[in-house]
């Protein structure tokens, strides 16, 4: 190989290394929500963030669902040259490829289905909207600039599409039963991971692992307790996927793992899914009694030679665990458990921690864990830095610390009030987050329990995006009232000086700073 070619390849390698992508919900298999490769946004310029474009995609909402987290590939080779492409997923079985620079729709794919739900199957309602419910995942191929998009459609099929043009690159394959409710796909070492919840379509709540090399699917169920971490499972360095479980009995002796956290691993020989670890909070019975699901996607990160994980639930505590043994010898003892951050009233619907966690490491080596929460801050929970009364939700930031061999989460800051604070993203010293504006109440004084769109959609307002200083939580910028609609069960992604957010009315917003 001559020196010129080596130089060119080195340069290409540098470009690839600088590529700022968002290929999976939560940014990476560990669901850190940390955009390490951001070079354009900075705490100094984020105040100049503007609405760069918005596009109405025409996706028909189902129940409260509409658009999911946009995925981002910085450099895709297309027939008209390299482009930065967003992949936006609409619940009505739609996939959109959008040019990041302009907001122009490059292609659209609709998965038609002749599937008819059987009678008596659980379907409909806010919890079971049908359609695509899992954010897809993208993987690079062996050809530079060529990427594959993996999507689970409503009929339970796995589709593999070319990101450049939306064409199928493999025949659809059976992934899971139809009409279920899978959560964001995760891809790790040749296997796709997801889990389901709510018993939608009459299907049991299961973990599914699709082995791309063999097409074999492994599955495992916690026997009670759907798994509804919004960003799907998080995956540790040894390939174990972790997720919280929803309402259900926690009694490992009878194989019931509700209101806990489970670790599932693919058997390398048989490709089956096997339970390898589990944790049940010491008050799991209370959580079950009061509908306080452990329904949050965990975050996994390295810390002083260990691999740690943080997770949470509606009760509004954050748990710190060692993936070597997430609940210790008795499966009930995490490394650390915070006091209650919110949800003093034990509200099962409009308070607590929902969605997913986040983690990043600053230039001084301090490891941070962030959580969103809904509702008012607990009166007894304090942070050194706070920004006014929190009534509707906020982001809470903690530093991971080890003192005399004991690990802890030390409260660092609590953000300003946000109307239903949603999972944050960290990018180059900035925390981006948003208040969804969604009416999350499920019980009303006049009619009692009534979790329907007729009650909740009229009560929803509009989303507001915020940029915060990652070390202090101070507000640096907000979108104010520029976003006209709200969203449910969605999220943001960030790359290359732009932050994206889809709303219920089918609009995708792009805010950013000039490069």
């Amino acid at each position: 190989m001559n020196r010129s070619l080596v130089a060119i390849l080195a340069a290409l390698g540098s470009v690839a290394a600088l590529a700022s992508d968002w290929l999976t919900d939560g940014k990476d298999p560990q669901r850190t929500n940390w955009q390490k490769d951001e070079r354009i946004f900075s705490p100094a310029n984020v105040k100049d963030t503007k609405l760069l474009w918005k596009v109405e995609l025409g996706n028909e909402p189902r129940q409260m669902h509409s658009l999911f987290v946009p995925l981002i590939v910085e450099r895709v080779n297309t027939s008209s040259g390299p482009k930065e492409i967003l992949i936006e997923t609409g619940v009505s079985d739609n996939i959109y490829a959008i040019e990041a620079e302009t907001g122009k729709v490059l292609w659209k794919k609709h998965f038609s289905s002749s599937y008819t739900p059987p009678a008596n199957a659980r379907g409909g309602g806010i919890l079971c909207p049908g359609g695509i419910t899992a954010t897809p995942v993208i993987a690079p191929t062996s050809t530079q600039g060529k990427y594959t998009l993996y999507v689970a459609s409503w009929d339970g099929s796995l589709h593999q599409l070319n990101v450049a043009d939306g064409e199928d690159i493999a025949a659809p394959a059976k992934f899971m039963p139809p009409n279920g409710k899978p959560y964001a796909l995760n891809l790790y070492k040749g296997a796709l991971y997801t889990h389901t919840a709510q018993g939608c379509g009459g299907n049991p709540n299961m973990v599914y692992i699709f082995d791309l090399a063999t097409g074999k699917v492994g599955s495992w169920g916690p026997a009670g307790g759907g798994m509804w971490g919004r960003q799907g499972p998080a995956i540790g360095s040894d390939g174990t996927m972790y997720t919280g479980t929803g309402d259900g009995n926690f009694n490992p002796e009878i194989g019931a793992f509700g209101n806990g956290i489970i670790g599932i691993k693919q058997n390398p020989e048989t490709k089956t899914a096997e339970l390898t670890d589990y944790y049940g909070p010491s008050n799991a019975a209370w959580l079950w009694k009061r509908d306080l699901d452990m329904q949050v996607t965990p975050v996994i990160f390295p810390y002083k030679g260990k691999e740690l994980m943080a997770d949470a639930g509606k009760e509004c505590r954050v748990y710190l665990m060692d993936t070597g043994s997430i609940g210790g010898d008795d499966h009930r003892t995490p490394l650390y458990r915070t006091p209650l951050i919110c949800n003093e009233d034990v509200n099962f619907a409009s308070a607590g921690i929902w969605g997913s966690m986040a983690s990043w490491q600053d230039s001084k080596g301090t490891r941070w864990v962030l959580t969103p929460f809904w509702g008012a801050k607990h009166e007894e929970f304090k942070a050194p830095l706070e920004y006014g009364e929190v009534e509707h939700g906020a982001i809470a930031a903690f530093k991971v610390e080890e003192k005399s061999g004991k690990y802890q989460l030390t409260s660092a800051w609590i953000s300003r009030d946000m109307n239903r604070a949603e999972p944050p993203v960290i990018a180059n010293g900035i925390v981006f987050s948003y208040g969804s504006g969604e009416d999350t109440d499920q019980a009303f004084p006049d009619v009692g329990l009534e979790d329907t769109i007729e009650h909740r959609i009229p009560g929803s307002t509009h989303a507001t995006l915020y940029a915060l200083d990652a070390e202090t939580g101070k507000e640096l910028w907000s979108s104010g009232d520029q976003i006209k609609s709200w969203n449910h069960w969605s999220g943001i992604s960030v790359a290359n000086g732009r932050v994206y957010l889809g709303t219920f009315d089918g609009t995708l917003y792009c805010f950013g700073v000039k490069k």
Partner: protein, 256 residues
């Protein structure tokens, strides 16, 4: 949320608006105070029985060990504040404090299953009724109504194999402030204590007479309290000795 609760919430909101409209002092501070009051009322309505207070903690308690003589002290602020500022409640004994300040007997009845029966004690010591007499929720209860609630708790306890100790109300005094209301309460405390003692004699519940040991001329001895209602450390020391004797008696007797 029950419709009664919804109705009560609406009433609270209406009261709030009315109070604002009629208030001659609609200052931001006044509005904030009313908002806080409304918030507190809502919280009470949503969790009238106070199930949140110990609900999570209860599920973290292991069942009693073999041979363990678990005892629950159940009541209001007089019970809750027993070990305030100190780490342990009756050190060395498997005795558990389940007092909630400000509660009336109807509230306690709601949480009796969660905070007593579900913890499988051998004995429950119930000290309750003062806040009912004080009309803490805006309407005083009659002594008979209070006794009905105490009787229900006692019957629930016995039906679940728990020996019941019913305590007399502790005395109060005007030693630190002059209050006409407290003078009226004192008469009713005496009446209720007579009813409790009578019920115990008829039901084989054990009567624990705090009042007799802590009163002088019908008033709470000044050196046993710092505010005229809640005992101080010396007051709790008197109570502790009596409680230990009553529990020992209950454990010996068992449920009959």
């Amino acid at each position: 949320m029950g419709l009664c609760t919804a109705s009560a919430l609406r009433s609270s909101a209406l009261l709030f608006v009315t109070a604002l409209a009629w208030s001659q002092d609609a200052s931001p501070d006044r509005i904030k105070a009313l908002e806080n009051e409304l918030k507190q009322q809502r919280r009470t309505l949503r969790d009238y029985g106070g199930l949140i207070r110990y609900g999570s903690e209860n599920t973290e308690l292991p069942p009693p060990a073999r041979g363990e003589d678990r005892v629950i002290f159940f009541g209001d602020q007089i019970t809750e504040y027993w070990n305030r500022g100190r780490d342990q409640f009756f050190p060395g004994k498997p005795w558990i404090n389940r007092g909630i300040a400000g509660q009336t007997t109807d509230q306690m009845l709601i949480r009796f299953r969660q905070d007593v029966i579900s913890l499988h004690p051998k004995v429950v010591v119930i000290l309750a009724g003062l806040n009912d007499i004080a009309g803490l929720h805006g309407a005083p209860s009659s002594e008979e109504t209070i006794l009905d609630n105490l009787t229900s708790m006692a019957e629930l306890g016995r039906a679940n194999g728990i020996s019941v100790v019913l305590a007399s109300l502790t005395p109060i005094c005007n030693c630190y402030s002059k209050s006409g209301a407290r003078e009226r309460w004192q008469e009713r405390i005496n009446e209720l204590n007579e009813l409790i003692e009578k019920y115990c004699s008829q039901s084989r519940a054990i009567f624990l007479d705090y009042f007799g040991a802590m009163a002088e001329d019908g008033n709470l001895k000044k050196d046993l309290t710092s505010d005229g209602i809640v005992p101080n450390q010396a007051g709790y020391a008197v109570m502790a000795k009596l409680a230990e004797e009553a529990v020992a008696q209950a454990l010996k007797r068992g449920v009959q």
